[in-house]
Amino acid sequence: MNLNYTEEQELLRDSISKFCSSDYDFETRMKAVNSELGQDKELWKMFAELGWLAVPFAEEFGGFGGDEVDLSVVFEEFGKALVVEPYLANIVLGGGVLRRADFAESASYIEKLVSGEVQISLANYESQKGYVLGNIDTELNAEGLLNGSKSTVLNAPNADHFIVFAKKGSGYSFALVDKNAEGLTLSGYKTYDGFTSGDLVFSNCKPVAVFEENNALEVLEEVIREAIVCICSEAIGAMEKSYFLTVEYTKQREQFGSSLSKFQVLQHRMVDMFMETEYAKSFLLKVLATEDKDEKAKLTYGLKNQVARAGKLVGEEAVQLHGGMGVTQEMSIGHYLKRLVSIANVFGSADFYLKKYSES
């Protein structure tokens, strides 16, 4: 048994951690959040130069050949700094499909993703259709045209291309669509956790390429599973930072002639936050260290449930212990809560994954 990260992984962690503490403070983050694009294109270029965009792609495409553990390391560090740059959308979701599904010219799309030249979003969830991945209405018809709609497509306003999950015949497929394609309408918006998203409507829209294999649903399931591991890692980083910030705040905030940190009832609450974070980390390691595919999937569902509950507890307690200051926009702690509850509910709630865990 070995529960250690490799030397390369520790180096990757160090480089992201250093970057976040020197170049991605809360102010920089909020500037991106409050800008129209919701991201800093210069930073994205820097991410590419630092090689971070290459992490999970095969070496033949200019990638780093990394695996889920490498991605988890990236996201844990991103979580600590609440990074909103579109890594999940491009590298894990859009890029996740490209890594697993061979399109015509997907190699060239990957190269452009890795170099930061293009952004690609995955469009799979639909409004009022829930989280069972095959439960969709969008369809690729016999003429090869797309009809239907997708909601909360992460980073949609910045995407150059969309990978659209659609019904095709009796099965499913992915269609690659350009942002300027005829028959595609986009409405973009910010989400409450500081990210950028959008809704897409397709009306006889012609894709530039269609995935020809018949395992699109299996590919999507694996992409979403990996994305869950990533956002859970991010949540764990955010939880760690949340309890750290709370401990620091209660040490310096004085009421009744003493620092808040001296009150035993508050100490115990912070101990609970710490324990929840450690238990979530343990569960994450169990997922990362598991090799069997089915067992790994089941454990990932368990992780989503565990992290949803723990993240909500830690985030809410952090705000509560900050008192009135905790609910202000100007302090970072409330933004950690927003991301934590968003992570708790995207791709399905704690209850949804508890059921999946028990049924797997």
């Binding site: 439960n135 998203s197 009421q255 809410e316 609910v327 926009q329 927003k338 995207v346 209850d351």
Partner: protein
Amino acid sequence: MDLNFSKEDQDFQSEVREFLDKEYPKHIKAKMDNGDDLTRDEIVEWHKVVAKKGWMGHSWPVEYGGTGWDATKRYIYLRELALEGCPMFIPFGLQMVAPVIYTFGSQEQKDKFLPRILNFDDWWCQGYSEPGSGSDLASLKTKAVRDGDHYVINGQKTWTTLGQHADWIFVLVRTSDTGKKQEGITFILVDMKTPGVEVKPIITIDGDHEVNEVWFDNVRVPAENVVGEVGQGWTYAKFLLFHERSSIAGAPQMRRAINSLTKRAEKIFHDEKPLAEDPLFKSKVAQFHLDLDALEMTELRGLAAEREGKGPGPESSLLKIKGTELQQRLTTLALEATGHEALPYGGPYGFENQEVMAPKAAQSVASKYLNFRKVTIYGGTNEIQKNIIAKAVLGL
């Protein structure tokens, strides 16, 4: 013991319903039902409708224009309003400063302020917390120094809810630095238009402007605006806080909200079955109703005790703690049920002026969840409420 309403109470219930049916402005109802925010004018309009009917002083003594209702009638009245989804009364005048004025104020203060509060001619706000004095309110530093017929106030208050709309503010100021910190605090009424009063917005995590900082820079206030005795403000402040705490449990509003969420869940799908049929969701809803029953009965006991002359005491902390915990459970349940449809945000570059696919009802769910983080913090944090119960009720 009897939980049934008497014939007279039933008649009263019909009267309230009839009033709401006829007088509750349709355009305000539409906005409330939709979950939209009301403007200042609309909030004032609603209060004036109630004032015209003579039903504003539902908790006031008759001699000051109160309705003189018993506990059952008050319960029926507030419940009907909540079930109809009416806007909550702005409590700062009606339920907070007014009881202080009619209990401790001078005849001139009663004559000057109470009728205007009852008619909602003045919008009041609260000047209690300071940046360094939250839970430890008695450590407040805003100073008032006597200068002839006036007091001169300097300092800063914070978390002043809807201060941007207010005409008057009641303020706790320090008039003496000697002795215990609870001594030397004075309760004073300040016209917001007085030179030197400045309101600065605080934006909260839901992106909303609801609370404010209120700054006092050499603000000259007539000495006759001191309520009760100079240096006795802490006694009045505690009296007021008990009133505040007993008015924030909100059981009927929650009943309405959980019912509307359950209805909405018939059309929400997380998996193949509607969420309303999901056993995990159903058990949470059942648990919620059950806990709400207990809260409602506790509220009713409080109303009955108040009617017998036992004004709200430290027990009101019980309502505040349990009530706010339930409010947060409700907003959490709504957020979980709504899932990714709750993501679109209404702030800058948000969905305003945009078409969003998520159902209308989903759009305010996240901001409500975030907004309601405050309820376990304001009015004295729930941790402080537990200290009060431990000390004043359990004698620990």
